[in-house]
């Protein structure tokens, strides 16, 4: 993420704070910064979400289109991810600077969704072998304030929860060409089961302890960490090690355990909030004006 300079004394202060379980802003090692969430902002996308995690700002839009399924998976639809690190986020992303980070996040998301436990892709099939729904998930990183993986995964989960896929009926077969009938009613849609979609937890190692939701200063102090994707039923679907330092196998195991517990808590609270938002009226949309 963004490289910032810190003096030796500041790094020592952060190190001792982590040992003491009291970080610079008063959080414990396993606390997240406040998250602000909203779905349904982008009216011409099938589903959208905006998530703010302190300074990190992520906007996700999901568009659904009909296409032919992959030849080796004729009964399944698919998800295509695309991450764009906007140059507004931080000066390092100017020009092609953000491409590496964007590709990393994209690949990690694809891996975490690849497991069969996360999302039931056969729900997206329309006509076996011929037509299926493809969900294009576009992620725009508007501001970079540390902990991008977590923010992106939560925003994607919220956007997929809010995605409305139009109902489609298969009319009579006209020779070899089946006719697909799209419902006239814009509200006649179906939703995906997003219970088990993974949430990503970033754990960075500072000294002998690890912390959740690091700020850019804390990321600068740490040399290694892991990014773990945890699905709704506490299963780990993908793990990636970040940073150039090394990790002891014992600390790796305990980090994975903590990651899956934290991920499960985040998942429950997120699902609860998304359900709550559904019951609110449409007139209460805030958008970007605040």
């Amino acid at each position: 993420m963004a490289e910032i300079l810190l003096s030796e004394a500041e790094k020592a202060f952060i190190h001792h704070g982590v040992q003491d379980d009291l970080r610079c802003d008063g959080r414990t090692r396993l606390d997240y910064r406040p998250i602000i969430l909203e779905t349904g902002l982008v009216s011409n996308a099938s589903g959208s979400a905006r998530l703010r995690l302190a300074n990190s700002d992520i906007l996700v839009g999901v568009k659904v289109e009909l296409a032919s399924p992959l030849p080796d998976k004729p009964q399944e639809g698919r998800l295509e991810f695309f991450v764009d690190c906007s140059a507004n986020a931080t000066p390092e992303f100017e020009g092609r600077g953000g491409e590496d980070l964007a590709n990393e996040i994209c690949r990690f998301l694809q891996r975490s969704y690849a497991s069969g436990d996360t999302i039931n892709l056969s729900e997206l099939s329309v006509l076996t072998g011929q037509q299926c729904w493809v969900l294009y998930v576009d992620i725009l990183i508007l501001e970079c304030g540390g902990n991008l993986y977590d923010a992106v995964s939560l925003a994607v989960k919220s956007a997929l929860y809010a995605t409305q896929i139009p109902s489609i009926k298969v009319a009579t077969m006209d020779g070899d060409q089946p006719e697909l009938e799209l419902s006239d009613d814009p509200y006649d849609t179906k939703r995906l089961n997003t219970e088990n979609i993974p949430c990503v937890v970033t754990l960075m190692k500072i000294g002998n302890h690890y912390l959740v939701d690091p700020t850019p200063e804390e990321e600068c102090c740490s040399s290694s960490g892991i990014v773990v994707a945890v699905s709704g039923n506490k299963k780990i679907t993908a793990v990636r090690k970040i940073g150039s330092g090394s990790l002891h196998p014992d600390s790796l195991v305990s980090m994975l355990k903590t990651g899956s517990e934290v991920g499960a808590v985040v998942n429950t609270i997120l699902m609860k909030k998304l359900l709550e938002e559904e019951t609110l009226e449409l007139s209460q949309k805030v958008g970007f004006m605040r």
Partner: protein, 292 residues
Amino acid sequence: MVDIRLASEVPPFHIVADSTEPKHLVTPGSLITKETGFMRGHGTYMQDDCLYSSVAGVVERVNQLISVRPLKSRYHGEIGDVVIGRVTEVSQKRWKLDTNARLDSVLLLQSVNLPGGELRRRSAEDELAMRQYLKEGDLVSAEVQNIFNDGALSLHTRSMKYGKLSQGCLIKVSPSLIRRQKTHFHNLPCGASIIMGNNGFVWICPTLLDDGAGGFVQNLETVPHADRQAISRLRNCVTALAHCKMMIYDTSIMHAYEASVNAGLEIKDLLLPDKIKEIALMVRKQFEMEKE
């Protein structure tokens, strides 16, 4: 552990204005006046005999001079300001510091106090040993001595109270929120010291016991838990005041600190949007009570 709010639940941060006079606010491209005979100041441009604003801010008029003071801009240095800068470059006989200004500020080798307080001419050995005093990433508190022709600031640390900063926490706010006061160094009663740089960098550290031997010795011992709590709470209070666009000076910070302690808020609760608004309102109420 995790706090997720919906955007509609977050209260809007009203700009808590200190005075109730209506100000002439303008946005880029808006017309200020059609009358001729005015001199153009900063933040304005002339087109077809009309004066337009080029920044978003407040119109200021001094006799015939009209200028627009932007609401949010980079730091504009004045001689005598206390600033906090981070070393970005070590060059020949000078250090370049980032002070949130348009150009990196310059700290000349001859403008710093050598350790031990010696007063002598800087030699070639001093030049080669510059990195031992200050290297990239170090934080320094200094005063603006001079302004170069291109607008870059020339700083100096020729006093025992300035110098390299040790352990603590740095907060970046908008320079317009820092009030110009007699002294920018305060030892707060809650057990921490604070330096409010005019450039918007606020430094909170454990109470300085003595003035430091020329300001170059760094103390890397563990800070006690109580001090650390005071520093974290102050950091969250300053961030809350900055969020609500309130002026930051020692009185307002102490009011916010006491308000948060009296309300029984935990330090990490001060990060929540509704608690931030609560603290700002309590500080404002305190000021209104003091006025009466």
